[in-house]
């Protein structure tokens, strides 16, 4: 069984007398070590799909399976535990905790799992080294560049060796050089760690290392052949 499976997932929101279908009967399977990119216009449902895949939101219908476990019937507490053990998140603005330095940003995830050993700290240092930040371990978010912050977020997402890595617009606040470096890093670590990675992005300039590119439109996942059409919708 693949680490991430979404089967016929829909998410609807009430909108006055009618309803908005943010995600419309989406099925998606991501294999271990595979990097799937989802692009699309703002409001197309990309982030909602990511929230459902990350057990942050229940779908209105359909089912989600993460590393063989069905998420659908889990209580909030169990969903939290699932996120802690099986899922890594990389957010749009890196979302680092302002009071922690780079090393502590990564280390705190081990603390959440009750790991307070020297080994956990060592693992955090190794990961920061792997993302090229060994010289910045003591720096707080405001002392890091945008690209460095995203690399800390990548290390934080990977410290617990998650089965699934969910990445939300990681390059939206970065220049093309930094953005490209971050995407390369995500791609490389996906293969190295064997994670199932879903990358939501507006940025269609960087496609190297992406195994599959999907396009979301009005809540539905479109085949890649329509990229050209969607590209014109996104960038015009």
């Amino acid at each position: 069984m693949e680490p991430l499976q979404l089967n016929d997932v829909s998410v609807t929101y009430p909108d006055g007398d009618s309803e908005v279908r943010a995600v419309d009967h989406v099925s998606l399977t991501v294999a271990a070590g595979e990097l799937v990119a989802i692009t699309g216009a703002s409001g197309s449902g990309k982030s909602t799909l990511l929230a459902v895949a990350g057990a942050l939101q229940r779908p209105t219908s359909g089912s989600v399976t993460i590393n063989g476990a069905s998420v659908d019937d889990l209580a909030a507490k169990q969903r939290t535990e699932l996120r802690r053990t099986e899922i890594g998140f990389i957010f749009q603005q890196s979302n680092l905790i302002s009071s922690l330095n780079a090393l502590e940003q990564v280390e705190i995830v081990s603390h959440l799992r009750g790991k307070r050993s020297t080994a956990a700290r060592q693992r955090a240092e190794e990961l920061l080294d792997a993302v090229g930040l060994s010289v910045a371990v003591g720096r707080r978010p405001h002392q890091l560049s945008g690209g460095q912050r995203q690399r800390v977020a990548i290390a934080r997402a990977l410290i617990n060796s998650p089965a699934v890595l969910l990445v939300d617009e990681p390059t939206s606040a970065l220049d093309s050089v930094s953005g490209g470096a971050v995407l390369d890093l995500i791609s490389r670590l996906t293969r190295l760690n064997g994670t199932s990675t879903v990358l939501v992005t507006h940025d269609m300039r960087q496609t190297s290392g992406i195994d599959r590119m999907l396009v979301m439109s009005d809540g539905s996942l479109e085949p890649t052949s329509k990229i050209g059409i969607i590209e014109s919708q996104v960038f015009t």
Binding site: Y13, S42, S47, T48, L50, A51, G54, L56, Q57, K77, T80, E81, R83, R84, T85, I87, G88, F89, F91, Q92, Q93, N95, I97, S98, S99, L100, E104, E107, I108, V109, H111, L112, R113, R116, R140, R156, A157, D168, E169
Partner: protein
């Protein structure tokens, strides 16, 4: 504590400010507690230090509470109390607010009439010889000096340790001489200090003797000034504790609101409500302990200086107890504020999710 300590370090200015506020509130509560205890001691120490477990008062009319000012016992009542089977010792005491003259000096005093040689009487009280408490000795009255109470002159035969009644130093006089004071108003005694057997029946004893019994501790309330002073100071103290809860609660409400984006991220990456709330509670406790300890250290220092000028008591009941109450009230305020952690949705970490 992983996050709590690092946030304390990161936002040290904000936390120092709230710790300073806590320290100031602690200072106020501590000073008030020390002063209240000091005033209380100057009001009731002569009564609370009596070697007795019950005090018998004449029963006031109209169901009013007994008071030293109103109580008048005659010889019949005293004899009934003395003869009661459950009473092991009965010592009549005359209590009168009076004035004493020592040369050109005049003092307000409390004249306590006691039976010479009885369990209540300090050694030296007999006939025209009286024993003064240290409050009067501090004014320059010495053993061997003569003092005049009312129209009668007495010789000071000894000094008793601290004994105050209604903010006046106590002078122990022979009960027979006390009855001759105009303030005695013909009473044989004001109250009777009783030692009773463990199986005494208070209701039966009150009924049989026509008196009202209060424990030595409860008898404090029968001193008019004590109830008024203590009530006001206690009210202020409880209000300050309430204010501390509100101040800490308000600070942590704002602090939690500021942290909401961080809390959402923590939840998204797998932190439970319990983990975050426990961390925040530990943070509140650190702030309260640090602020409270600083405030109480200042109270102890000031207390030593103040004790020579005003009635001020420094002991566990005026330092550790109010500090403990402050911590408890502060934590209640903090926990109410911290509750909002559970309302933060982790999905908000994904900024564009909705």
């Amino acid at each position: 504590m992983f996050l709590a300590l690092r946030e304390l370090r990161f936002a040290r200015g904000r936390f120092a400010l709230i710790a300073a506020v806590i320290a100031l509130i602690t200072l106020l509560i501590g000073l008030l507690s020390g002063l209240a205890a000091g005033l209380s001691a100057q009001s009731v120490s002569a009564v609370t230090s009596l070697p007795a477990d019950q005090i018998a008062f004449s029963t006031p009319a109209n169901g009013k509470a007994p008071s030293f000012a109103q109580s008048r016992l005659d010889e019949v009542s005293i004899a009934k109390l003395r003869d009661a089977p459950s009473v092991t010792s009965a010592s009549p005491i005359g209590v009168a607010q009076s004035s004493a003259s020592h040369g050109s000096q005049h003092f307000a005093i409390a004249a306590f009439g006691v039976v010479p040689g009885g369990p209540i009487a300090p050694t030296g009280v007999a006939g025209n010889e009286v024993v003064i408490s240290s409050g009067l000795a501090d004014e320059g009255v010495k053993v061997g000096d003569q003092i005049t109470i009312g129209t009668k002159t007495f010789t000071v035969a000894g000094t008793q340790a601290d004994a105050w009644y209604n903010h006046t130093p106590v002078v122990y006089v022979d009960l027979v001489k006390w009855r001759e004071l105009p303030e005695a108003a013909g009473a044989a005694a004001t109250v009777v200090a009783l030692s009773t057997s463990a199986n005494d029946n208070r209701d039966a004893l009150q009924r049989d003797t026509g008196t009202t019994l209060l424990s030595t501790s409860d008898a404090k309330a029968a001193i008019g000034s004590y109830s008024a002073e203590n009530g006001s100071l206690s009210l202020i103290r409880w209000l300050l504790l309430g204010i501390s809860a509100v101040v800490v609660g308000a600070f942590f409400t704002v602090w939690t609101m500021q942290r909401k984006p961080d809390i959402a991220v923590l939840k998204a990456i797998g932190a439970s409500n319990t983990y975050i709330a426990r961390d925040a509670a530990a943070q509140a406790l650190v702030v309260l302990v640090v602020g409270g300890a600083i405030g109480m250290a200042v109270v102890a220092g000031l207390g030593v200086l103040l004790a020579s000028v005003v009635p001020f008591v420094i002991d566990a009941s005026t330092t550790l107890l109010p500090l403990g109450l402050l911590l408890a009230f502060g934590m209640i305020g903090a926990l109410v504020a911290i509750r909002q952690i559970s309302t933060v949705e982790p999905i908000t970490a994904l900024g564009a999710a909705r």
